[in-house]
Each structure stands twice: as C-alpha cells, then as structure tokens.
C-alpha cells in the first residue's frame, strides 16, 4: 500500500459540505470512474460486457443505470462507469478485464470532481446553473450541460437529488458557482 495522501478536488483532506436553507452541496471524492468506448464493429459485444458488469441493461442515450457499479451514457457507444472508490480504485483495469478488446477503457477517476446536490428546492438552484430542463429530469437521467462555462454531467438520482460532475481542475470555480446560486435563490 502506497503512502501518498489524497486531497479532494477542492484541496481538502475531507470533502466539503455546504448547506443553504434546505439544499446541500456535498463534494464526493469517493468515486472511481472509467470511460468505455466500444471498438469499431464490437459495439454489441461491448454493450453486453458492460451490462454484465453493471448488472443491468446498458443505459440508453441520456440515461444511467446500475448499482453499486453503474454507467452513464456519454456519447455514441461511449459510457462512463462509476463505482465506489474504496472498493474500486483500480476500476479502469477491472473494466478492461471485463470488456477486453471490445472497448477502449480509460481511467477517468481524477479527471472529474463530483458534487451531490440534495434538497427540496434543488431545482431552483439548478435552473440558475444550467440550460437543462431539470424539472423534467427523472430518476436515471444523465445529461451533459455547461455550468459556469464548464462541460459537466448532470445525473438525476431522484427528483430532489442530483450529481454534478465537472472538470477536476475547475472544482473551485464549479463549487463557487453552485454555492453562489444556492445563496442567490434559496
């Protein structure tokens, strides 16, 4: 076991949690990510292997599925696989082992920072942040959206609970934008 200590995307040793009124924004560093892109002509095989890995049918366009290992659609024949970091730090290798040459797999764990937004008026916060019709998003929806000029993924875990993935290097700016919106509208 190596002896290098991790820091969160916001630079702390512990994840940051901010609450304004009834909405909470929580930094979530405990997630491992790996991208999966089907190889040419191997799309069906890749989907099948991915489905087996996440335990459910491979998510369709704009959707995510699976637990505890899940995947969300990111592009044509492309997905991002999510899993708990503590049990899956080596996720990319695990996914590669499962899918083999049917897909290209790339570690994405630290390419992203995740903030989970929860609370009764979370939609009011999101409508200040991104152009998605968040009021129409249902559990299992995943969409790409620009937040504060950052390319993000927004996942609807339930109508009052969303995950936002943004580029890790801009975690501070993204967090600032989210908390500013929370303070503005709540």
């Amino acid at each position: 076991m190596h002896d290098l200590a991790a820091i969160t995307a916001l630079g702390g040793s512990e994840p940051r949690v901010d609450t304004v009124a009834d909405v909470t924004c929580a930094e979530v560093p405990g997630v491992a990510l790996a991208s999966v892109a089907a190889r040419s002509g191997q799309e069906a095989k890749a989907q099948k292997a991915l489905a087996k890995l996440i335990g459910v049918k491979t998510p369709d366009i704009g959707r995510f599925a699976g637990d505890p290992v899940s995947a969300f659609w990111t592009g044509p024949d492309q997905w991002m696989v999510e899993a708990p970091f503590d049990s899956h730090e080596g996720l990319a290798q695990q996914v590669k082992d499962a899918i083999g040459d049917a897909a290209s797999v790339t570690e994405q764990t630290d390419a992203w920072t995740r903030f989970d937004l929860n609370g009764g008026r979370v939609l009011a916060v999101l409508e200040l942040l991104c152009p998605l019709d968040v009021r129409k998003m249902a559990e299992g929806d995943a969409a790409r959206a620009a937040i504060h000029h950052l390319g993000c993924f927004v996942l609807c875990r339930s109508p009052g609970s969303f995950s936002v993935y943004g580029p890790r290097s801009s975690a501070g700016s993204l967090h600032h934008a989210i908390v500013t919106a929370m303070k503005s509208t709540l």
Partner: protein, 95 residues
C-alpha cells in the same frame, strides 16, 4: 439557436462549436494527379450561400459528435441534422 441533435434532441447552440462548410468532409485523395489543386480548393474555396447551407458543428459541450447541420442562413431554419460520421460514410469515406 437550437440544434436538434439526432441523438440528444434539441440542444442550445451554445453547446456547439461551429467549423464551416460540410464540404470539409470531402478531403481529396493525396495521390491523385491533381492533388495540389484539389487540396487548394478543399482548403480555401467555399460557397457562401444565402439560403440552405450544410455546415459542420461539433457538440463540444455534449456528446462530442460532429454534426452536419442544414441551416438556412437567411432564416436560421434548420431543416436537417445528421451525424457527420454517417454522412462521411455515405460519401464513401472509410479509413
């Protein structure tokens, strides 16, 4: 503007990056007799129609698909949107 993405439905044009004329798909054969001339035309000469225009847009803030969008430059009416990859294949491009 809103671009009706063939996979994702209507998306705000602010998520896209514009490149230009869809003729950029028709990259000439480097070994052809007239390759120099053909590449010159390919790189520099474009139609600039007042009306329907087939153009390349990249969904950078989305699924990273290149799209061929048929847009009327006078009204901004978008009549057709295709995945550029499909268009390229249909035009005989391969490897």
């Amino acid at each position: 503007m809103i671009i009706p993405h063939p996979l994702l439905g209507p998306r705000d044009s602010s998520e896209f990056v514009y490149l230009g004329d869809a003729s950029l798909i028709d990259r000439p054969d480097w070994q052809a007799e007239d390759a120099a001339e053909a590449f010159h035309e390919y790189a520099y000469l474009r139609d600039n129609p007042a009306g329907e225009h087939r153009e390349l847009w990249y969904h950078e803030g989305g699924d990273r698909s290149w799209l061929v969008v048929t847009r009327n430059t006078m009204t901004h009416e978008i009549s057709k949107v295709e995945l550029a990859r499909d268009v390229a294949r249909a035009q005989g491009r391969s490897k």
